[in-house]
Each structure stands twice: as C-alpha cells, then as structure tokens.
Symmetry: C2
Subunit: 343 residues, 2 copies
Amino acid sequence: MRVGGVDRRTITPLADGSVEIIDQTALPERFVLRRLTRLDDAVVAIREMRVRGAPLIGVTAAYGCALALRADPTDAGLSQAVAQLAATRPTAVNLRWALERVRETVHGLPPRQRADAAWALAGRLAEDDVAACRAIGEHGARLLRDLAPATGALNVLTHCNAGWLATVDWGTALAPVYLLHDEGHAVHVWVSETRPRNQGRLTAWELAQHGVPFTYVVDSAAGHLLQRGLAEVVLVGTDRTTRTGDVTNKIGTYLKALAARAAGVPFYVAAPSSSIDWQLSAGAAVPIEERGAHEVAGEAALPVANPGFDVTPSHLVTGLVTERGVCAASAAGLTALFPEHGA
Amino acid sequence: MRVGGVDRRTITPLADGSVEIIDQTALPERFVLRRLTRLDDAVVAIREMRVRGAPLIGVTAAYGCALALRADPTDAGLSQAVAQLAATRPTAVNLRWALERVRETVHGLPPRQRADAAWALAGRLAEDDVAACRAIGEHGARLLRDLAPATGALNVLTHCNAGWLATVDWGTALAPVYLLHDEGHAVHVWVSETRPRNQGRLTAWELAQHGVPFTYVVDSAAGHLLQRGLAEVVLVGTDRTTRTGDVTNKIGTYLKALAARAAGVPFYVAAPSSSIDWQLSAGAAVPIEERGAHEVAGEAALPVANPGFDVTPSHLVTGLVTERGVCAASAAGLTALFPEHGA
C-alpha cells in the first residue's frame, strides 16, 4: 500500500541482511521504520506489538529464525530461536505455523545453508501472504458487491485492525474494502476503537491513507449501529480459526457477532489458510492471551483482567473468506476448499 | 455512603441556600466538592457530567429550578429554567420527570413561595430516591442470594456506573451488591471500563471505598467472561425504560444483554420508577444522545460517531428491579407493580 506516495509493505528484507518493519506502536502519530538485525529484535518486535496481526506475526517470526540461524545455525540454536519466538504471543496460530515451516525447511540441511534457506522461506511466506490477501480481497469484494444497497454507500463494520498493517500487504478483512473502493464503489467503514490498545486507530490511519470514508466509534457502539440498520455487513479478521470454524479474534469480536445475528446482518471472517488450526476442533481449546494490566488501567492500581481475544462460535459466522474462496464456517466447508486437510 | 470515614451523599442542600455536589469529573483522581448557587451552575454541572446518572440528574434539576426561582420566581423565569435544564441531556427520563414535578408543585403558588416550595420538593425527591434505591437494594439482594454459587463468590457483571454516585445514595444496580457485601456474602464485580468516559472508574472507586472485590475490564471483554461462565448475573441501571420494558442505558448495555442471553445468564435492570417513561412503548422512540467527538478521539481529527446510549429490547431482560419489587420487563409486569400507570 502507499504511504505518503511511496509503496510500502509492513516488512521488507534489506540487501544488508537486516529486516525493516513499520513500528506500529508509533502509529498513527508517527511513521517510524525500524531494523531487525538479530533474533532478539524480532522477539521484542512481536512481543511489544511493533508488528501485530496474525499473518504479519508469522512472517516476522520466519525472518527472526533466519536472523537467529545466521548467528547460530546449530540444531540447538534453531530450537532456542523457535522456543523464544513461540513464547511471544500464544493465540495467533500463524506464528506456530511459520515456525513449523522453518523447521521443515532447514531440517537436514548443513548448518551453513540454514540461514539462507530460512531467509528465502520467509520471503516466500511473505509473497504467499500478499497473494492470499489479494485473493481474499477478490473473493470478499464479490460478497460485498452483492450486499451493497441500491443507493448510497455500503457500510462495513469491522473490529481491530485486519488491514494491510496486520499482514504483509493488502490486509485480510480490509482487502475487499480496498478493492471495492478502487473500483469506484461507495464504501464506508465503521471503525471500532478496539480497547485496550486502540488498533482501531491503525485501521483509521490505513483507511485515511487510502481515501476510504470511515467513522470511528467506541467498541460498545456496535450493537446500536447494527440494531439501527447502519451496517450491511460485519467483516473481521482472525488469529486462529479451528477446523470446525470457531473463530478466535480480538476481544470484542464475539459481541459483534452476536449483534450481527440479532440484526440479521451477515458476519464474515477473512481467514487466510495460514490462520486455520487444522489440529483443533473446539474454539474453547484455543489459548487466550492474558495481557498486562497497564494496557487497560495505565498507572492506576486497579485489579484488572485483560484477555486479548475471544471465541466466536461457528454458528454465528456466516462464512469464511479464504484465499481459495468463501466457505461455510464448518469442517465440511473448510475441507471442501482445503481437501489436503480432510479427515 | 462513606468516603474517607465521612457519610456523604452525591448532592446536599446547605443552610446558606446553595447545593453541594461531588464533582464526578474529578474522580477517581481527586475528591472535589462544588457549590451550585445559581441556575447556570446546575445546568453546567449536568451538561458537563459533574453530576451524572439518571436519578441524580433528576434531583439536581429540581434543585436547579429552586435556585432559578430564587432569582426569578415568575412563570417566565420558571419556563426558561425548565427549558435550559431539559436541554442538557436528552435521554434520561428522570430529568423531564423531575422538572414536571417542579412545575406541578409551584403551579398556582404566589411567586414569593415558589423557590421555597421547589427547594422543599427537591429535598423530598432526594429522600424518595434514597428510599427507592434502598428498596431496590433489598429486592435485588434477594435475587442475588438465589443466584449465588454454593461455594465461592457471586460474580456480578455491571456496566457504566449505577452505584451511589449515579443517585443520591446507595445506587441502583450496585445497591444490592452493597447490601449483600454488608451481610457478609462473598461478592465480586466485573467492572466494565465504559468508554468513552470511563464511568467504570467511578464504579471501581465506589467499590474500593466500600471494600467490595472487583476486577476492571474493557467493555469488549463481557462476551468472553459470560461465555466462560465467569459471571452468574448481569445487573445494570437504566436511563429510561419504556412502559413495555425496553431499556435505554449506557452504550454497550445491549451487547451485554445479548451475551448474557447467549450464555443463559440472567440479565436484570435496576429501574426506579422515576426512570420509567410511561408515555413510551417502543425503545426505538427514545432519543439517543449524540455526544462530542473529543470524548472518543481526543485531539485526533477523526470522523467520530458517539451515541451515548443504546436500547436493550425487553425480551432480553430477565426482570426489572424496582422499588416495589421485581417484575417482568413488560407492560403487564410493570402495571401489576404500578397500577396507577395502568391503561
């Protein structure tokens, strides 16, 4: 996507062997680029949410392995890097998926070839992510065109940031919005603040950069907006979707799904296959990251609970928008599109 | 309630003819008392939310009329005071109800008696509010005792602040919690931040003053908590309940009602009769206050919508806890308790 007239991705390998990221903790106030040169840089970037969004976390972890292997290409070095990276964020499955891909790729290679192989793999994962997001955009745009009212803008309600900042480029839930807007369709997005970290500000920044009209609201407003017929569709991302279609995503997603169902509004989830956990059936089994109290209460000494994600059961999900098309949020729906993961 | 060892009410008439309020915009950081001496002070106090909560707004408006009548006891003076006060906050019905009571009371009185009559009425409304809240506390406490688990604390999920700060004393939704706690029952409250103005901080402050255990969470967490069985009951206040039991309350209440229903958890509304709009049937007809963008986005120049309230349809409400007892959220339920408002 373009930022200030320049084409940007959220993560870019540089010729000197370092990796450049957009520091998302500085947005929207400042646009700051940072370089990752060692494993620790990648660990800190993911843990501190300088990069966030399930797809981008996965790619960053793969680059983190490459940086680690350059310093220590032994099996022990790889294991330690994988363990450190896996411990940063428990919920997004892309992280574990990317680390597993690195393991498979370097397995059996002589140590001196491992860093280069991981580096190349990270690049392929990044390109795959861009292609998947672009495909999700096209499949999702078809859905959105059908939901657009005869007159006036199509109103899309989203949560958190599932735009290009959450991926390498394009985004998941916002990719269809960008495509529709670029085609000249009138689209308006309800942007949910997304407490406690206010990732809605990232979504607002993205949409403003791209010229897409939007309105920023508190998370609690979603029920009212849907009840009053002010959104034709809810479209969100996912950090982990089980093989049966239960969707784990940013805390508050489940409430939006309930409100969409009550209002008879379709609730779609943009789910690249990298975010599908083929090992898990029940969403209740997904580990929910508990984050620090300061995110919620700042310096106030309050007893706080801060679950980062919630689970939307599959029966509330109208459909999953994957890179291979749209399917029902069910094992049957998913394995029809991804037969290689069939029972 | 006691603050720092001193018994306090949220609003207190003083011997010098002024009215003392707790400035709730300074809480929880600072405990500040302010004096209202003229109509404008009351108007600003309500509009700027130095006093807030439907019952307290009503009593403050009545005192505001008394202050106005002291300066100008003519019919024109009264009409202007009523118009100014009515314009401060559109949603809470107690405001209009209290102003109507003042009109009735001073109607036909000679001008020189009007200020004193309004002053005395405001005092009676304050005492009535304390008594109503205390009765709601007792009726609600009976409900809560029945919902308490065999072992461990009863977990009550609430929203916004419907504690004593929202009333003259005791509170509505929190009154049963205080009574149960005072009886020695283990009670724990999930306190919802309540963006954009964070009235959850007021609830946290109240509960901490009283020694009631609580946990502070973002508004989006309610679905997750209810889904995981971490609350036995949802208990909230109301700014206006229609005669058919539709409940208008702080934005985000509706989402909690949906999540409670999905989890099979009872959703009760503490509704003093002063907050019931006997003229209205459909919640959709209640005016929803649209507040300023700065509350949501601060200094950021973002397009913002900021509806202050939402409507929970009666079918999601397990029951209304009034000063006369608990009833179904329906015209039949309400008029059984309040036959004077029957068809």
